[in-house]
Each structure stands twice: as C-alpha cells, then as structure tokens.
C-alpha cells in the first residue's frame, strides 16, 4: 500500500515496515546522496576532499562497530586491532603481492572476519564488561604482534602501503577524466564513499532481516532471546566477525589513503575514537555512525586549520608557547572525552536522535508538540 501525504510512514503489514526502501523520501534521499557522492571531488576544496576521505574510512569502521555495539549490545575496545589487520592485508596482498583491487579489498574483509571469528569465542564467552577488558587486552597483544612481525608490518618503523588501485579502466591512484586530472585523493574519495554506500546498504539490509532482528533481541535481553531459540554464541560471534570485517576494510582503505602505517597507530586511543563516533552519531542507527565519523574526523582537522597562524584564546601551539592553558593536540583529545561525556549525559541517543526528533516534528506538523 502506498503511503499518502497525509499519513506518511503508517504501515498496514510487516513486509511494508521492513522494506529496505520504505517510501519515496528514502529513494529521494538516496538519489541526492549519490549525486553528492559524484559531485564531491568536483566542488570540494582539496582540504575537504582529504578530510572527507578519512571520514569515509572512519564511517566504514564505525558502521561495523555499531553492528556489534549498537545492535548486538557487545562493547568492544578491540576495533583498532582489526583496523590494523586490514591495513597490513592491503600492504601485503595489494602491495607486496600486487593483487588487484577487487581481490585485496575483499581479502581485507575475509581476513578480518576470520580473525574475528577465531578471537570472538574467547572474547564473548563472558557477559557484559568482561568483553571490554578482553578486547582491551587484544589491542595490546595486537600492538606487540604488529611490532614484532617485521616481515609484514615493517616492525616498529612501519611499512609503506601502496596497493594496486586499478579497477577495470578506472585507476583510483589518479587519472584523467574528460580532460580533467583527478588526483589520488579525489579518486580515493569516490572509492571510499562508494564502499561506505555499499556498507550502509549491507548494514541496513542486515538489521532488517532475520539475523539482524536476532542481534537486536540479543541486545535487548539475551536470556529472552535464547529462550525463543536464538543461539547466543552463534549470533554474538557472527556480529563480532562482521564488525571485524568492516573494520579491516576500513583499515585497508586507511592504508591506501595514507600510504604508510606504523604499529603505534593501532592503539587503544583509536578504538576509543571509534566508540566515540558511534556514541556521538547515535547507537543502533545506520545513519548515526556515518554522521559521527564525519563530525569526529572533521573536528580535529578543523581545529588545526583554525589555529594555524592565529592565536586562539587560552590555547597554545604544540610547542607549548605562552598564553595558553592547553595545547592544540591536548585540546583535540580532550574534546573527544568531553564529547563522549556530554553526549552520554545529555543526548545518549546521539546526533541521530536530534534528526529523528526533527523528522517527527515535521511529520506531525502543524500539530507538533
């Protein structure tokens, strides 16, 4: 049944409520997003192309973490470990072995999911807060492995990540189109946000179908879920593997974008940044993590940009110059912390909730309350 203007979003059967594209608004939105994606590198400045490139990478990782944390209710601090795995798979498969893009990028996902499926049973054996501590340990053990496995990771000095970026006639490493030269960053913008698009649709599709509803049942009350026949073990480990696959793809893209990675990057700090993204974006929504990733990637870079050649009140440069109570790099980290605390206290459902409220307001207008 087609929703009319007077009563949008009212469903008369379950199939309609679960449809991937429920109404023309979503179709229009998706079309606009696709247009923005195509137009991005044409209209954005170099600064924003780079920032949004990194934001897209973060969005892929955050989508994965949100499937685990937002939809299955399992808190993990191990995301950085899987991002690292992805980056080294990209360096090894795409760089050292020179395999094409359509092999190494899926390989990131496969290796990530495989490692996730191996680690998952140990990490998920216990309920609740134990997972946080176990995955915390995973990050430290992972950093050690990355530092010591020199033949793949380059040891403490790091390794170049220069994977193949050809996909048929398209070279994402930079090419000329219609007489215009597009740089590596601009081409990678299209690749990364294309992957984000695939990731969004896949995640949206997952959470509306049976496995996704099972995950949400586990999150809401694991005992009840088990009683109605959902295998906790299977779905928890499954969610962990999928989330790891997303993280590894994000890691691979991150490596390709940055062209160099070192073991110190895959630290607890990175994991916490991803957790911050999904909290600030909105747990348990698909749109939220993408939004959170963009906001949290943009803030530090904007701060750098604003502070360059300018004196901010109370903020000093990284050399610790006079007249400041906090340096820029400290401020960037402190803002992460403050945003996490602030959102949890005042808007626990994140930026997505702000949007949902606005939508509800419009929908019920003129009888909004």
């Amino acid at each position: 049944m087609r929703a009319t203007g007077a009563a949008p979003d009212l469903h008369t059967d379950y199939a309609a409520a679960l449809r991937l594209v429920p109404n023309s608004w979503v179709r229009t939105g998706a079309g606009l997003a696709a247009l923005a994606w195509l137009a991005g590198p044409l209209i954005l400045s170099d600064f924003w192309v780079v920032v949004l490139g990194y934001a897209g990478v973060a969005a892929v990782g955050a989508l994965g973490l949100n499937l685990l944390t937002g939809y299955t209710g399992q808190v993990s601090l191990g995301h950085a470990f899987f991002l690292g795995i992805g980056a080294y798979v990209a360096a090894q498969f795409g760089g050292a072995w020179d395999l094409p893009l359509f092999i190494w990028l899926p390989a990131c996902a496969v290796v990530g999911a495989a490692v996730g499926a191996v680690v998952g049973p140990f990490a998920l054996r216990l309920r609740g807060q134990y997972l946080v501590v176990v995955t915390l340990g995973l990050v430290f053990v992972g950093e050690h492995i990355f530092r010591e496995w020199g033949s793949v990771t380059g040891g403490g000095a790091g390794t170049a990540v220069r994977p193949q970026l050809d996909l048929g006639p398209v070279d994402f490493g930079g090419m000329s189109l219609f007489g215009t030269r597009f740089s590596r960053q601009e081409m990678l913008f299209w690749l990364i946000w294309g992957v984000v698009g695939i990731g969004v649709v896949a995640a949206k599709n997952l959470v509306r179908t049976r496995p996704g509803r099972a995950l949400q049942a586990v999150r809401d009350r694991d005992l009840a879920a088990e009683v109605i026949g959902i295998s906790l073990f299977r779905y928890k480990v499954g969610a962990f593997a999928i989330s790891s696959a997303y993280a590894a793809v994000a890691g691979g893209l991150y490596g390709a974008l940055q062209t160099f990675v070192s073991p110190t990057e895959w630290s607890l700090l990175l994991s916490i940044q991803y957790v911050a993204m999904i909290i600030i974006g909105g747990l348990g929504t698909i749109f939220g993590p993408v939004l959170g990733a963009v906001v949290l990637t943009a803030i530090p870079r904007l701060l750098d940009e604003i502070s360059r050649g300018r004196d901010l009140p109370l903020v000093s440069d990284d050399a610790g110059g006079p007249g400041g109570i906090i340096t820029i790099s400290n401020l960037k980290q402190a803002i992460f912390g403050a945003l996490i605390v602030g959102f949890l206290l005042f808007e626990p459902r994140g930026l997505a909730a702000v949007w949902l409220r606005f939508k509800a307001y419009l929908k019920t207008w003129p009888f909004s309350y």
Partner: protein, 298 residues
C-alpha cells in the same frame, strides 16, 4: 637462584603497585557494578599533585602525599556526585564509556598543566639500595611494598569493622535489602569513589617514585592492572591483592627469562604477558581466583 629471588622481589613490588590500582577498580565495581576506566587518570593526577605540593610548593614529602590522597578522594567523590549520579539506571555500557571519556579528559589536562617532561617526584628513596645476601633491594621497591601493605591493611580493617565498611559490603550483596536497612546507597557510592580516588593517589606515588619517573605515561599502569583485577576476581578485594602480586611476579620473571628462553616471542614481551595470563584465566576460570560466579536468572 639469586637472579630468581631478585626477580621475584622486584615483581612483588611491581605487583603491589598493581594491587593498589586494582583495589580501586574492585571497590567501585563492588559498589556500582561498573569498571571505572578513569582510575588511570586518578593515578596520574595523584602523582602530579604530590609533585606539585612537594616540589613546587615546598611542603614536606609525606604532607604532600597526604594532601594528594585527600585531593584524590575529593576528586573521586566529586566525579561521582556531579557525573556518575546522573547515570543511575542507564545501561552499563554507557557508564563504562563515560568513565573512558573522563580518562581522556584527565589524561589531557595533566600534561597541559605540568608538561610532558619527565620529572622527579621528590621522594626520599631515589636510587638507594640495600644488599642482603646478594639480593639488591631498592628502597623504592621496599617503600612500595610497605605503602601497599599499610594501605591494604587499613582498607581491610575499615572494610570489615567500620559501620561504613559493613554498609558497603551490604550494598554490594543486595542493594535493595541494604536500602531497607536504612543504608544510604548514595553515600556508599560516594565513599567508594572517594576511596578509589585516594588509593589511586598512593598508587601514583609508588609508580612515580625514583629518578625522573614522573611522566604522563604513569597512568598507563592502570591498564596493566586490569589483568590483575580479572585474575583475582572482579568483585574481590583480597583477589585484587593476590592477582596484583601474581601478575607482577609473572611479568618480572618473563622480563628476566623470556629473552634467553623464548627469544622468538619478541622484545618487551613481558609488557603483554599480563594480558596473555588474563586470556588464559578467562578460558580456565572466568570469574577469577576469588570472584563470585555470575548466575543468570530471568
């Protein structure tokens, strides 16, 4: 044999430091059911406050330590009153993340105030050592052991015999029953956070003692105390002590023997050894040596 004893001694001292941090975790976990990630921030703050009172303001060392403990307890109680209390009834996940956010903030404020340079805490032990039958006992390690023993004894006496300590144990067993007995759960939470903050300050002092050992990385010790807490059992204060000492000895023995016996494990393997122990414990005995197994009920 001397090497072994030497490593065990140093490991015990290291573990006593872990035990102090783990005790802070356990006290808060028992009271509120939440792992407090900000504990590392409290440790860091306590160490720098001691430095500030002692070196910058010129107060005697022990007065500085005492003031730092008082300040640490105040900060703990304030965090509970201003922030954590608003989160009552929220999912555990949200509360854990909140403490992680707090850790981030404290970890950035401290170097903003005191800088990144390694500093001398101004402790009276320095690099002095005493030789006993071939064993070299550093005064810093001896002091850590003595401080930890004093703090832990004081805590257990308080926990067992004081009215507040009994109220804390009652609340941990059954919050509703405790409330019905007229125990103020709110005050129990506040005192728990205050104790955690104060103990963390002492832990900070033991970690930052020695030559130029006070740096913003001191807070990292809290992350290495997690395995101690898991090994001992999340909700057992004696477990925190036993777990801390065991983890300390294991880490030190690994540091002493692994480079010769298992070089393929790589450099600095002893730093990840606690986590390896933690994973093994979680597989064999998930609720730790002294923890209460969780029972699932509808």
């Amino acid at each position: 044999m001397t090497k072994f004893l030497q490593l065990v001694f140093e490991g015990t001292a290291l573990g006593a430091g872990y035990a102090l941090v783990a005790l802070g975790f356990v006290v808060i976990y028992r009271a509120t059911g939440v792992i407090n990630f900000a504990q590392g921030g409290f440790v860091l703050l306590g160490a720098y406050l001691t430095y500030n009172f002692n070196t910058t303001w010129g107060l005697p060392f022990w007065v500085s330590v005492f003031l730092a403990v008082v300040c640490g307890a105040l900060v703990g109680a304030l965090v509970e009153a201003l922030i954590l209390r608003r989160m009552v009834g929220q999912p555990q996940f949200a509360i854990i993340m909140l403490t992680i956010g707090l850790l981030f903030i404290i970890d950035q404020i401290v170097p903003s105030v005191w800088g990144y340079d390694a500093l001398n805490l101004g402790d009276p032990w320095g690099l002095d050592t005493t030789d006993i039958g071939g064993l070299v006992l550093s005064h810093r390690s001896l002091a850590t052991l003595a401080l930890a023993a004093a703090v832990l004894t004081a805590f257990f006496v308080y926990f067992k015999y004081s009215t507040m300590g009994i109220a804390m144990r009652a609340t941990a067993i059954d919050q509703e029953a405790a409330l019905a007995q007229g125990i103020s759960a709110r005050r129990v939470f506040a005192v728990s956070w205050a104790i955690a903050g104060g103990v963390a300050a002492i832990a900070g002092v033991t970690q930052a003692a020695g030559a130029a050992a006070l740096a913003p990385t001191v807070g990292l010790v809290a992350l290495r105390a997690f395995p101690a807490m898991i090994l001992g059992g999340l909700d057992s204060p004696p477990g925190a002590v036993v777990g801390g000492v065991l983890i300390g000895i294991t880490q030190n023995l690994t540091a002493g023997y692994q480079p010769d016996m298992a070089p393929w494990l790589g450099n600095n393997f002893h730093l990840v050894m606690p986590y390896v122990v933690m994973v093994i414990i979680l597989m064999v005995r998930p609720y730790g040596l002294f923890g209460t197994p969780e029972v699932q009920r509808a």
